[in-house]
């Protein structure tokens, strides 16, 4: 059972799913995330990050555009995190900000390659799949359903995969 417990910590995007403390979810706090999500969707469209053509350009090394977007975002992110750590910035609700180190797993290699295959085919990572549906390319609903099926299938066979 120990291995199974260990791989629960491998999801980089979720924190403390086992944590049983219940925080209040108010409509107001959720509205904040709706507005942030809308902003993110607009940037993805206006910077053409969701364009299949832009992703092909990137993987064919024929344009700097996508490297510029991701590179700039990472630089801004690194500076922000360093400031947060250096000055021990707290969240607006007063908690220390959670920036724990995450462990290595072979999943980052195998899963990373598989996601890369899918990224080149669909021209979309998960954010752009949602944004693409919003732009009106309705067949991307099928891509989303298929991605959900892939997520579910990973959950089903996870314990059998090398991590």
């Amino acid at each position: 059972m120990k291995e199974i417990k260990d791989i629960d910590t491998l999801d980089f995007e979720t924190q403390n799913l086992a944590d049983s403390s219940t925080k209040k979810r108010t409509v107001g706090s959720l509205l904040k995330y709706l507005i942030l999500g809308i902003g993110f969707g607009i940037v993805l469209v206006k910077a053409e990050v969701i364009s299949w053509f832009r992703i092909q350009e990137m993987f064919r090394l024929e344009s700097f555009h996508m490297y510029g977007v991701i590179g700039t975002a990472v630089v801004v992110g690194i500076i922000s995190v360093q400031i947060i750590k250096r000055f021990k910035v707290k969240s607006i609700s007063g908690e220390p900000i959670n920036l724990d180190a995450k462990p290595f797993s072979k999943g980052q290699i195998f899963g990373g390659l598989l996601f890369g295959f899918g990224w080149a085919l669909t021209g979309a990572c998960p954010g752009p799949i949602y944004a693409q549906i919003g732009t009106g390319v309705s067949v991307f609903i099928v891509t989303l359903l298929s991605a959900l099926a892939g997520t579910w299938f990973y959950g089903l066979i996870r314990e059998k995969l090398p991590h």
Binding site: L30, I50, P126, T151
Partner: protein
């Protein structure tokens, strides 16, 4: 101002805004930026099927689901209210190459020759739309994150596993772009 917003945004502007999502989410709610986990939460909410990976209180991650609902709305706003209605100006070499493999429609964000309901029922379209989507869902969860979770959030926090994941995303993308797509 509105006319300016309707132009395609420069990569540096977009990069700065996307990068700022890291501190905004951390400070406003102690949340790690990441989109692909929303798919795990949807599975946990809709069809957990007693699978261990989906047994947790997904309602605590409602913020993430609300965020992606916002991304859908933002996609609509970007494409309808803030559109300059012009095709994306991609590199000539990319365009020539894509024409050589049979792509003809360059007017939209995606080639409608590949991404349309008619295309879905061809083998080629099925691979791009369905197989591609499945690999995105499976791969991101196996890797523990996607472009936002690893390549933006993880790299911002200088996580070596996220660098490894990002390199593998790119290697996977290069392999399919150069060795598979030309023959599809």
């Amino acid at each position: 101002m509105l006319e300016l917003l309707k132009q395609p945004w420069h990569w540096s502007v977009a990069g700065v805004i996307i990068g700022l999502f890291v501190p905004i989410l951390l400070i406003s709610g102690n949340k790690a930026f990441g989109i692909s986990s929303s798919m795990r939460h949807i599975c946990a909410a809709v069809f957990p099927a007693k699978i261990r990976y989906f047994k947790y209180d997904w309602k605590k991650e409602t913020w993430n689901l609300v965020f992606v609902a916002g991304v859908i709305i933002g996609g609509w706003i970007g494409a309808h209210l803030l559109s300059n209605l012009e095709p994306i100006k991609i590199a000539d070499s990319t365009k020539t190459y894509l024409q050589s493999i049979g792509i003809q429609e360059f007017g939209a964000l995606v080639p409608t020759d590949l991404f349309s309901w008619e295309s879905l029922f061809t083998l080629r379209g099925f691979i791009f739309i369905v197989v591609g989507g499945f690999l995105v869902g499976f791969g991101t969860r196996y890797a523990g994150g996607c472009t936002s979770g690893h390549s933006i959030m993880g790299l911002s926090n200088l996580q070596l596993p996220s660098l490894i994941a990002t390199i593998c995303f790119m290697v996977g993308g290069f392999l399919v772009t150069w060795l598979v797509i030309p023959y599809l």
